[in-house]
Amino acid sequence: MHAPDGFIDVPVSAAAGVLAAGAIAVSLRGARRELDDTARPGAGGGVGADRTAPLAGLVAAFIFAVQMLNFPVAAGTSGHLLGGALAAILVGPYTGVLCVSVVLLLQAVLFADGGLTALGVNITTMALTTTVVAYALFRGLVKVLPRSRRSVTAASFVAALVSVPASAVVFTLLYAVGGTTDVSIGKVATAMVGVHVLIGLGEAAITALTVGAVIAVRPDLVHGARGLRQKLKLRVDGELVDAPETPESAEPVPAAARSPRRVWIAGLVTSLVLAGFVSFYASANPDGLEKVAADHGIDQRAEEHATADSPLADYGVKDVDDARLSGGLAGVIGVGVTVVAGTGVFWAVRRRRTADDERSETSSPAGTSV
């Protein structure tokens, strides 16, 4: 899926590059916070103001290595992990974006895998989309499902499963706006999403198994499972007593603060399911409104980019012929927009809460590490 040079035209590549650069800048800041968060329960935060480079670097090396681990499928074919969802769940979304981006950067510069001008496109689709979609979905599911290890594994399955086709959809969108050949978008979308749903199934299975394996051994290392830590129990005179709580492990989260978010996340998940799957399979011949919605949805996106880019761009957006597909496509685009907007809200909420918590000096890792 590494796009080479010349696949997407220059203005769109440049726009994607700007987006990728912005995402990396945000992630650099966020990763610092994530990796220092991890430091707190164990070794004490004193050491760790600058753990970002070694830890993120080693995680990037891990992703690079694990991409070479072949998972045999059948009859000589084999697949491998893409790692976006895995990174997001294991080390958090910011670090995940950063690590996958670094892997892509070095692949482009060293291995000529993916073009230099297409680097922005590749980072946007493979680093940004996969990690953000996977993490948003993962957090949502973990909140909704019962708090157990099994639900973390299940959530990572779903998150990885959706993240791969989502990145294919983003790639299709970029192709719709800046593709150098006018293949009908319907065909590109069908091919890309079809293939990537299959890839996503493999990715999901491997990601879930790997997350499960890490959780079984070092649950404290799984960023996405921070809230699940067991309370320390001491055996005093033959009976189990809760250990006196250290300030770090005090994790009461005010219920009032959580409830609106839970509602919001349930809504997100429902809309995802409705938009992505139901609209695709709803009916074989949907009414014209749905088709128009799809066409307009795509056209609006194209125009939105046209205002952002140079007039050089060749914006030919083909009509989507297959009505059912167009419904599904509109749904999937809706998912993309929803997830992006939703994540924005999510982070805004999170940041405010983090700030509040720090102010009220009960700065507990479980409370802040949403």
Binding site: P54, A74, A213
Partner: protein, 253 residues
């Protein structure tokens, strides 16, 4: 891509191309690729001219053609995609050998193939003539965020270590009679991946502590500051400038 692949990419040498400062080479390759991508696809001769330019660079760098061609194979998946394009694209169609092909699709396939191949060839030349460590220095000189460069350098430094760790785990699995044949064995492989993550992360923590104990404060000291003279810059930028001339000719002709 077993252990030591980083050494396979680089061809040691002391040609004039090897001697150029890394950031000039990076800038030159990036500019060259941008020029190539913005060339109109109808100007077929322009791409031939670009290929000749790259050939001259390869000759100057004493990179053998076989090495270059072998490394170009990384492009194969997209060649497959490009071959598909004439069959699925829209627009007027022509009959070639009894197959109905789209004219637009043929142009698109040519476009992707030509530009993609030139881009890959340029990157391969860059990697072949620049050492890894130098490349990272070059990225830093080109004002990439230092933290990002540090992460990349840690990845490069420990990439082989982690890959080796994975290889040792594979040997351990195989010496116990395990052979992954199908989906049923994914659980074992995933456990290895999980163990690999834990080992990598813990190694990261150890590396960080070791660095802190040696006075690391979050920035890496730059020991050998690479600078480029005006002559070196102009030497390196000769490639994209020549390409730019070709590109402008391609637009006007």
């Amino acid at each position: 891509m077993g252990a030591g692949h980083t050494h396979r990419l680089h061809r040691h040498g002391d040609s004039p191309v090897h001697a150029l400062p890394p950031h000039t080479k990076l800038a030159a390759v990036l500019a060259f690729v941008i020029v190539v991508v913005s060339t109109p696809r109808e100007a077929m001769w322009a791409f031939a001219a670009y290929a000749v330019l790259l050939g001259v660079v390869a000759y100057a760098a004493r990179v053998p053609a076989g090495f270059l061609l072998k490394r170009l194979l990384i492009e194969v998946p997209f060649v497959a995609f490009a071959v598909l394009l004439p069959f699925v694209a829209e627009g007027e169609r022509v009959d070639v050998l009894g197959l109905s092909l789209s004219v637009n699709g043929l142009w698109g396939a040519w476009n992707v193939l030509a530009k993609g191949t030139l881009g890959v060839a340029a990157s391969v030349l860059l990697a072949a003539t620049t050492e890894l460590r130098e490349l990272l220095h070059g990225l830093q000189r080109l004002r990439l965020p230092p933290l990002l460069v540090q992460i990349a350098s840690f990845m490069v430094r420990y990439g082989d270590v982690i890959t080796d760790e994975m290889r040792r785990m594979r040997i351990a699995r195989e010496s116990r009679g395990f052979e992954a044949r199908g989906i049923r064995h994914w659980g074992v492989l995933a456990k290895s991946a999980g163990a690999l993550f834990i080992r990598s992360y813990e190694r990261g923590e150890r590396v960080h502590l070791a660095m802190v104990s040696r006075g690391y404060t979050g920035v890496m000291p730059v020991i050998d500051e690479v600078t480029a003279s005006r002559a070196q810059w102009s030497y390196a930028l000769a490639l994209p400038c020549a390409a730019l001339v070709v590109c402008l000719l391609g637009w006007t002709l």
